[in-house]
Amino acid sequence: MNLLALQRSMREHLIRGAGEIRGQIQGDPSPRLAVYHHAYRSQLVDCLRDTFERVWAWLGDVRFEAAARWHIESRPPHSWTLSDYGDEFDRTLSGLYPDDREVAEIAWLDWSLRRAFDGPDATPIAPDALSGIDWDGAILHIVPTLRMTSISTNCAAIWTSLSEEKTPPLAARLHAPMALRVWRKELSPHFRAVDSIEQQALLMACHGATFAAICSAIAARMEPSKVPEVAGSLLAGWLQDGLIITVENR
C-alpha cells in the first residue's frame, strides 16, 4: 500500500473506525490503533473544554462531553490550527438544544471572546481626535475584532455569573430583541449587550455607511427629535469602548 492509500485508511479509521488499516500494522493492531483513536478524540474534547469553558460549566461534565463527542463525530477538524476547532460548535449546540437557546448563545460568546483575544491589532482613536469632522460625510472604521450576534436569552448574565464562579440565574427569554457585541480593547477581550438600534448602527458602520446614513436609519425607528441624543450617545459609547480606529471624511 502506498503512502497516500495508507494515510487515507488511517484517516478513515480515525473518523469512522474503518478497519482497512489493520492489515497494514505489525503485530496486534487493536491496542495500537486504540491509542491513536483515543488521542484524536480526547485532544479535540480537551480543546472544546478549553475554548468553551462557560458552556462546560453551564451544561456540566456529562452533557458537555456528549455534545463535544457529537460535534467531533459530525465535524472532523480541517484547519491547520487546533484553535479553529471551536468554529461552529455553537451550531452543534443549537441543534442539540433547540429549546434551550442560551446554550448556543453562551457558546457564541465563549468562541467570540477567544477569537478577539488573538485577533488583529488596531489602535482606537482618542476622543479629542474627532474635532473638526464633517459628520454628514464621516465614515467610521471599526476595530477588526468586533463581532456581533442577535440574542434571545439572558446568556450574558449567565456567562458573567459563571465566569465569576457565582450561581448563575435561570435561563430566561429577553422581552425585547438584543444583541451582543464582542471586541478587544488593547489586549483584553470585552463584550456588551446592546439594543437592536445600536446593533443596526454598528452593522451599518462596519459596512461603510456614512454617519449621516446611520442617523437616518435611527430616525426611521424613533421620534426624529431624539436622534441627535441617541446618535451622540452611541458615538460616545463606541469611543469609550475603543471601537473606532479612524474617521474618514468623504
Binding site: L3, L6, G27, V35, Y36, W80, T81
Partner: protein
C-alpha cells in the same frame, strides 16, 4: 541570503508554557533559551505576540511546530509555511523544528502526530516536502523523532536509518527526543542504544527530555505530564557521550509543575552533560 546550515548551540532550555509566562517575563530564569510552540503564536495579534516579543528580548528562542505535517502524501501546505515564515522572520529563532510524522491529508487534520511507514515511497514524499519547506522558510529544518505506537507491515528500514537518509538527501537536521526513543523502543522492542548509534551525530542540534506514562495495555505513551524517568536519564547520559554541541530542553505539556521543578530537572541535565565532558 537563505541560511544553509544551523549553528550548534549547547544551551539548556525550557518550553514556554502559559503558567510560567510571568516568571520568564521577569527575565531572571537561569536558562539559555526557550522553546515556543510555533502555532500558538501564528496569530493575527493581541497578547500572544506581545508576550513573544518580550520573551524574545530576554532569551534566545527556538520555534517548535506541531502542524507542518511533513509526511503528508498530498504535499505540504503553502499557506501554513508562509505563516510560519512570517513568524520566523519576526522572531529570528535559533532554529525552526517540527516532527517526522503526518497530521492530516486532503483537508482533514487529526491534530495528532501520526506515524509514517519507513518505506522508499514515504522517504521520497517526506524529502520533497522538506525541500519545499526549507525553500519557503529560507532556513534548514530540524525534525524530531516521534513517539510511535505502531509499525507498518511495509517498513523497509529502521526509524534511525530513515532519519539518516532524510538528512543526507535534504540537508535538514535532527531534534532528538530521547524520551521518544525510549517510548518507541519499549513499544516496538528495539535497542534504544542502537538508535542513538544510528543517528547522524553531526546533524543533531537539539535534544528533548520529557516524561511518559504506561497505558496498562503494554504500551508506553508520550504524555509529557510526568518528570523525566530514570531510564530516560540513563539514555540521555548515553546521548551526551555521542552528541556534542547540542541544546537540551525539558518538555512538559500537561500537569505543568512550578517552574522550580523543571529547573531542577534542567540542572540534572546540565550535571549529566558536564560529567560526560569532564570524563571525556
Amino acid at each position: 541570503m537563505p541560511a544553509t546550515s544551523v549553528a550548534s548551540f549547547a544551551g539548556f532550555g525550557l518550553g514556554l508554557r502559559p503558567p510560567h509566562y510571568q516568571d520568564f517575563l521577569g527575565g531572571n530564569v537561569p536558562i539559555d533559551f526557550v522553546e515556543v510552540i510555533s502555532e500558538n503564536f501564528m496569530v493575527k495579534g493581541g497578547q500572544p505576540l506581545n508576550i513573544l516579543a518580550a520573551i524574545g528580548d530576554r532569551y534566545p528562542v527556538a520555534m517548535h511546530g506541531v502542524s507542518m505535517s511533513i509526511g503528508s502524501a498530498d504535499g505540504i501546505k503553502l499557506d501554513y509555511l508562509l505563516r510560519l515564515k512570517a513568524l520566523a522572520d519576526r522572531v529570528q529563532p535559533l532554529w525552526v523544528s517540527d516532527h517526522l510524522c503526518w497530521t492530516g491529508i486532503e483537508g482533514f487534520n487529526s491534530h495528532d502526530l501520526l506515524p509514517l511507514p519507513y518505506t522508499e515511497d514515504a522517504m521520497r514524499i517526506v524529502c520533497e516536502n522538506i525541500l519545499l519547506a526549507q525553500d519557503v522558510l529560507e532556513r534548514p529544518l530540524l525534525l524530531e523523532n516521534p513517539s510511535t505506537y505502531m509499525n507498518f507491515a511495509d517498513d523497509a528500514m529502521s526509524e534511525w536509518a530513515f532519519l539518516s537518509e532524510m538528512c543526507r538527501r535534504t540537508g535538514c537536521y535532527v531534534l532528538l527526543d530521547v524520551n521518544n526513543i525510549y517510548v518507541s523502543a519499549s513499544n516496538h522492542g528495539f535497542d534504544p542504544l542502537a538508535y542513538l548509534a544510528g543517528v547522524p551525530a553531526e546533524r543533531v542540534r537539539q535534544i528533548h527530555l520529557a516524561g511518559h506514562s504506561d497505558n496498562g495495555r503494554g504500551l508506553l505513551i508520550d504524555t509529557h505530564d510526568h518528570p523525566v524517568s530514570d531510564p530516560v536519564w540513563s539514555l540521555y547520559r548515553a546521548a551526551c557521550a555521542r552528541f556534542s554541541g547540542v541544546a537540551t530542553m525539558i518538555e512538559r505539556d500537561d500537569d505543568i509543575p512550578p517552574l522550580s521543578e523543571l529547573l531542577a530537572e534542567l540542572d540534572l541535565a546540565r550535571a549529566l552533560a558536564a560529567a560526560w565532558q569532564r570524563a571525556a
